[in-house]
Structure formats: C-alpha cells, structure tokens
C-alpha cells in the first residue's frame, strides 16, 4: 500500500513527528511504500538544518534525512508555512524541499491512505 504522511507539529514540542517517523519506518519494513511526507503548520520545523538537539537525544531532522535517502521519500515542506516561521532554502536541511500545498493534495489523491499526525 502507498501511504502519504502529513506532519503538523513541531519536532521536539510534540510527539507527532516521532510517531510519524515510527509509522513510516514500520510501514516500509512491512513492504509498504511511503512516497511522500508533507510538513505543515509547525511541522515545517522538522526541516531546519540549524537543529542541534543535546547529544544524548534523538536527532529528528537527521532521522528523516536518513530514512528518506534510504527509501527515496520525498520530504516536502509547505512554502507558506515555512516562510511564516523562518524556514528558507538557506537553512533547509538537505533531503527536504520547499514547495506548495498542492503537493499535499496531490499525495492525498495518489496515495492509498493519507495519515495525519498532529493535534
């Protein structure tokens, strides 16, 4: 099955990003596909390359990058939500790309399921 994923919350503030990651990883391990993860609302902060968590904590940004690289996942950050929060190409982590909300609607149309993570 093809799963689209929407992440709507900030990365360390809320568990949504962790759960979305675990879900994506588990789905892929079970043989499903995750063609795209879309980041919206405070979820756009998942893409900041300036993120530096304490060394004994998980690195959520790097974790997305690694999963995406290994499984060819399209990590898309909403441009309007990103600009509002100070995320731009100049501080965007590698492996993410900034694009429009059409990319979210498109994955909704294309995937078998769209799974939303957030409040």
């Amino acid at each position: 099955m093809k799963f689209g994923i929407l992440v709507n919350e900030g990365l360390y503030q809320h568990q949504a990003s962790d759960t979305a990651y675990q879900f994506a990883k588990a789905a892929i391990e079970k043989g499903h596909q995750v063609p795209r993860v879309f980041f919206y609302h405070d979820g756009v902060y998942n893409s900041s390359r300036l993120t530096e968590p304490p060394q004994d904590d998980r690195n959520i940004v790097q974790r997305w990058q690694k999963l995406a690289k290994e499984h060819n996942i399209d990590l898309v950050v909403c441009v309007a939500a990103a600009l509002r929060r100070g995320i731009k190409d100049e501080n965007l982590a590698e492996g993410f790309r900034i694009s429009g909300l059409g990319q979210l609607v498109e994955v909704g149309i294309q995937a078998d399921r769209l799974v939303v993570f957030g409040d």
């Binding site: 399209d74 429009g100 909300l101 609607v105 498109e106 994955v107 909704g108 149309i109 939303v116």
Partner: protein, 135 residues
C-alpha cells in the same frame, strides 16, 4: 520523473482521479493557527477538482460564527473567506448538531449555509470519504 514532484511521477498518475476529500475543522479560529492554515489547504484543494466537503465540529463551529471582531487581539479576521468558498465550488459544508447545541448556537448564528448532521450522520459521511484531513 518530474522536477515539480522531486522525481516521483505523481502528476500523470493523478490526472482525472476524483477523490472524496473531507476537511474536519475542530479548533477555534483564533488562539492557534490550525484554522487559518487549514483553510489554506481547502482553497488549494479546489484547484484539483476533487469532491470536497468541510466539516465543523467541537470548537471548530466558532470558525463560522457571524460577527467576529479581532481588532483587539491584533489578528486578521479571516472569517469572510468562508463566504468565498462557494466561488471555489466548495459548497458541501456540514456542522455537527451536538457541537452547536453544546455551545448554545443555532444555524442562524452562522455566516454560511450548512447542513446540520447528528453524530451518527456525521460518522456515516466520514466513512464515505477517501481522504480525511483534520485541523
């Protein structure tokens, strides 16, 4: 491969597909940004010619209450946008009966025409959807 989709050939695959999209608005219009940014997704979805429904429940019913005045909190009153949805061919608006009643509201308090559904009716409508996005 297409530039726009980062190498994933979605555009061709999705051409002509019409899915039932439901946007569930659950939060008050001000206090958090969910309602405002959620409405942005609704407007974009109109460009994809999908079968779009909007639902208002819980505090989400306050999003479409008449007479919103936001000057004192220095936040834009975006409620007129809901009245413009008709122009985007988004005409299926539903409100949960229980959410209205719990807040002492009636359809006369709302700035758009809606269909009022009880929880059982809402559950049936949700079960018919292909994609449910909740903000």
């Amino acid at each position: 491969m297409t530039e726009a989709t980062g190498g994933i050939d979605f555009e061709e695959e999705s051409a002509g597909v019409v899915k039932k999209f439901m946007f569930v608005n659950r939060k008050a219009p001000y206090g958090t940004i969910y309602a405002l940014e959620g409405l942005e997704v609704v407007l974009i979805s109109a460009a994809f010619d999908q079968d779009v429904s909007l639902v208002f429940l819980d505090d989400g019913v306050y999003q479409i209450v008449k007479g919103q005045h936001t000057k004192a909190i220095d936040v834009k009153n975006f409620s007129p946008t809901y009245r413009a949805l008709e122009g985007y061919d988004i005409e299926k608006l539903y409100v949960l009966k229980e959410s209205l009643e719990e807040r002492g509201l009636t359809v006369d308090d709302l700035l758009v025409d809606v269909e009022v559904l009880d929880a059982a009716g809402m559950a049936r409508l949700m079960a018919e959807q292909d994609v449910v996005l909740s903000f």
